[in-house]
Amino acid sequence: MSNLAGVSSTLLEASFFLYLAATILFGGSIRQKGLRDGEGLNRWGKLGIIVTVIGFAAQLGYFFTRWAAAGHAPVSNLFEFTTFFGMMIVGAFILIFFIYKTAVLGLFALPIAIIIIAYASMFPSEISPLIPALQSHWLAIHVTTAAAGQGILGISFIAGLIYLVKNIDQSVSTKKTKWLEAVMFFIVSVIAFILITTGFAAADYKAEFDYVNKEGAAANLEFTVPALVGPNEGSLLTEGKMEPLAEMPAFINAKKLNTVLWSLIGGVVLYVLIRLVTRKRVAALLQPLVQKISSDLLDEIGYRAVLIGFPVFTLGALIFAMIWAQIAWTRFWGWDPKEVWALITFLFYVAFLHLRLSKGWHGEKSAWLAVVGFGIIMFNLVAVNLVIAGLHSYA
């Protein structure tokens, strides 16, 4: 049994490194000449996609061995769900790749998937038993379909991002360059979060606090990174650890806020460092990589990904969700924050489709919309799970 779990995590690690290797191969492919719209793939590109597919197969192996070890589909906690989401981005990339044969897409899609999988591993990764609310076949059906939809929509974000990196004039500083840098900063912050969390985990940092929780009761909390902000009426129990600089009121979860603060500070440091060393905007650094791909094709890929992903997302995140909610929670809809944000995501992409169809929002506008849409998806994945306390756990 636990043997299988071991095989499973090895496969996950393997896929992680295979994706890294594939990224490098795709990087090599665009350095070669002759990859314009309509021309075939060169050898690097072919190798890149082969390695990607092997990596994807390894991750599927992780998924099913873990399923066998746990006895339920491994989409039941944040680690498992986020990992699966990363896998779906790779899967969606492979799908779109076989339609459009564009190596540049891989150069961006794989790093995003890698960051997401690394982010996933910051959460407790042991196999957990299912609480009663999750004991249903609908867990697998609803969550995998929803994540697949989000993964495909993720490709539209990646196409949009490439479009913006390519087409936004970097010779002057404008509102657009600033917004694009904001997106880059966000990605850098996630990387910073991963580095900081991994660093303190390696150093085995632990600081325990007694505090008074929202219900006014005494409670206990362990920080795994130094507490910049501490819990309500908290007192540090572990000796020799940092005292918080500020104390939060009871309704704010100090531990989560602290993590966000660390990520932002880390993000700023990392971002400023990049800017100082290269003397360029991050988007300007990336721009040379994407010169050869046709903007028209990017626009088409972005739209196509929304067209393919939107029905899948609707089916998984709304329709299957409603069926399950009717069974597990007695009602198909209850305005729980997670539900509401799935609806908001849906409505956003509805607006996207209608804007494109009737207002002719193609090209750059469409690319911005795709970026915002993915922002909403990530918000639902990260913020709604971590910050807004919802129903998505029973009892």
Partner: protein, 538 residues
């Protein structure tokens, strides 16, 4: 209503922009344009034609996609506001909303409550937005689908060259069409599943026209869904009741007009245990502590055969018995009973012993059922205990020294006993609680000593009937069919014709131009027919 007759002889409805049959531009504006707007084939839409009466104006307002998008965006933004703080139905039910938001979230919470965001999704304006969405869906769809249907049905094979020239994919070359070559092209196109029509030496290849109806199908599904949601407020369509039922109790199932009764044969709460459950879970169980595995009420459902007879005593016959678990509701008729919540170890009965304070000798034990007390308890040999007062949720004494009860729930039961013994035939008064006895009326010889407590669990079951579900399901299915129909195919057309020594080729698709270009390239690459070029490329 006027009609517009085109040079080609076809009679078009008033307001048509491009002749339904040959495609000639019928308005001055359309004649000027470099590329025609093909979204609705230049058909006559009511909203583009009439703008006089109030009805016209309302129609035009709601048929505008711009307005539709505004409604969608407003809904989206509004919905997000409702997630900033928990909605009223998620706050603890024992705290009034008026004070809860301010107490927990300070001034911001107070403001949130005052604006009404604590119950946003039931607010009038939110409902109005949804209603506007529904109206807009209906009108916008009607405005387009009928003219579009007409235009696609009436289209001719040999379109006017002015129409072809204004297509996004277009090529023109002097020369003539080679009949056998055209036949080959036709065969290739048929292989690619085009429907090909040839007339007067012109060719029209078309495929997947059905995908154009996708948006309308999905809008219809959505409308059905919204109507279904509206039906919920019709009496009898929807029942949502909560039933707290103690172990051993048999209660009427609310919402069934007394037809059904349910008995709780026991509530079970199981947690995952190391050693018992698969080893892979050990690590998680160790980290989190307890993880719940099962909440279950063993329930029996009865029907009251005498329900129709007024005044008759219920006569219960068993209908079914079932273990109700989360995710496994008990179903009967159109009802479902769900395991929703529970309370463990509610007090059921208390045991006291009549005890001589000095010697500690006991003269018998009484059991007081908290839900069914006796007036007096005989202990034999001249010993007896009378119950003078029962305070289920004891809350202290009034100024006059009267014990008070906060609620009828046995949360903190207390009793006033009168102890009658051969020694004290007048009786002595003892005030007894769990682990505590008092003597409110003065020193006594005997006391009622607390011995033990019986408890039992209480299940909360939700009784639900929702007759709107089939309608919602139909709406949902139609919606999904429409979305897939509109998204996973595209409507492609290719026109080839020769006129006055010129060959014209034009292509159109409603989306995915790359796909169409690739397909046309494959068909025309080995022929003398020019491949149309994309004139919208940067």
């Amino acid at each position: 209503m006027g009609k517009v007759k085109c040079e080609c002889g076809h009679v078009n409805p008033n307001g048509t922009i491009l002749c339904e049959s040959c495609g000639r531009a019928l308005t001055e504006e359309a004649r000027q344009e470099k590329l025609v707007d093909m979204r609705y084939e230049g058909s006559a839409r009511r909203s583009q034609t009439y703008n006089k009466t109030i009805i016209d104006k309302v129609w035009n307002f709601f048929s505008s996609v711009k307005v539709g998008i505004w409604i969608i965006v407003l809904l989206l933004v509004a919905a997000s506001f409702g997630t900033i703080l928990p909605q009223e139905f998620y706050i603890p039910s024992n705290m009034p909303a008026e004070t809860y938001y301010e107490d927990v979230y300070g001034t911001f919470g107070k403001l949130y409550y005052m604006i009404g965001f604590h119950d946003l999704y039931n607010s009038v304006w939110f409902s109005a937005l949804i209603a506007a969405l529904g109206v807009s869906l209906v009108i916008a769809s009607l405005d387009r689908v009928i003219p579009l249907y007409r235009a696609l049905k009436n289209q001719r094979v040999d379109r006017h060259e002015s129409f072809m020239k204004k297509q996004r994919l277009f090529a023109e070359q002097s020369g003539t069409l080679n009949a056998s070559e055209l036949e080959n092209v036709k065969a290739e196109l048929i292989k690619k599943r085009y429907k090909v029509r040839m007339e007067n030496g012109a060719l029209l290849a078309e495929k997947n026209r059905f995908t154009r109806w996708g948006p309308y199908v999905n809008h219809v599904g959505l409308i059905i869904f919204l109507l279904g949601a509206l039906l919920r407020s019709v009496p009898g369509m929807y029942i949502d009741e909560l039933l707290w039922i103690r172990e051993g109790e048999t209660l009427q199932v609310p919402g069934t007009d007394g037809t059904y009764y349910v008995k709780n044969n026991g509530f079970t709460l199981e947690n995952y245990e190391e050693g018992e459950d698969p080893e892979v879970f050990d690590e998680a169980i160790n980290r989190v502590g307890t993880v719940a595995k099962n909440y279950q009420t063993d329930a029996v459902l009865y029907r009251d055969e005498n329900n129709e007879l007024p005044g008759a005593k219920p006569e219960l016959t068993e209908v079914q018995s079932d273990a109700i678990q989360v995710n496994q509701p008990m179903k009967f008729d159109s009802f479902a009973i769900y395991q929703t919540s529970f309370r463990q170890d509610e007090m059921k009965a208390m045991h006291f012993a009549l005890t001589n304070k000095a010697t500690g000798e006991e003269y018998g034990e009484i059991t007081v059922d908290l839900f069914d007390q006796q007036k007096s308890y005989e202990l034999g040999n001249g010993y007896k205990v009378e119950l003078l007062g029962y305070y289920p949720d004891f809350d202290g004494f009034t100024e006059a020294g009267e014990p008070t009860s906060k609620s009828p729930l046995p949360n903190n039961p207390a009793f006033l006993f009168n102890m009658v013994t051969p020694e004290t035939p007048e009786g002595e008064v003892s005030f007894a609680q769990i682990r505590n006895t008092m003597e409110p009326l003065g020193e006594t010889v005997y006391k009622m000593a607390f011995k033990s407590l019986d408890t039992r669990d209480v299940s909360a079951l939700t009784i639900r009937k929702d007759l709107t579900l089939p309608i919602l399901a139909i709406g949902g299915i139609i919606f999904m069919i429409g979305v897939v129909q509109g998204s996973y195919w595209n409507h492609r057309r290719l026109w080839i014709r020769e006129k006055n020594g010129q060959v014209y080729v034009a292509g159109h698709t409603n989306k995915n131009w790359h796909g169409l270009k690739r397909e046309i390239h494959a068909v025309l690459k080995e022929t003398s027919i020019p491949e149309p070029e994309d004139r919208q490329k940067e």
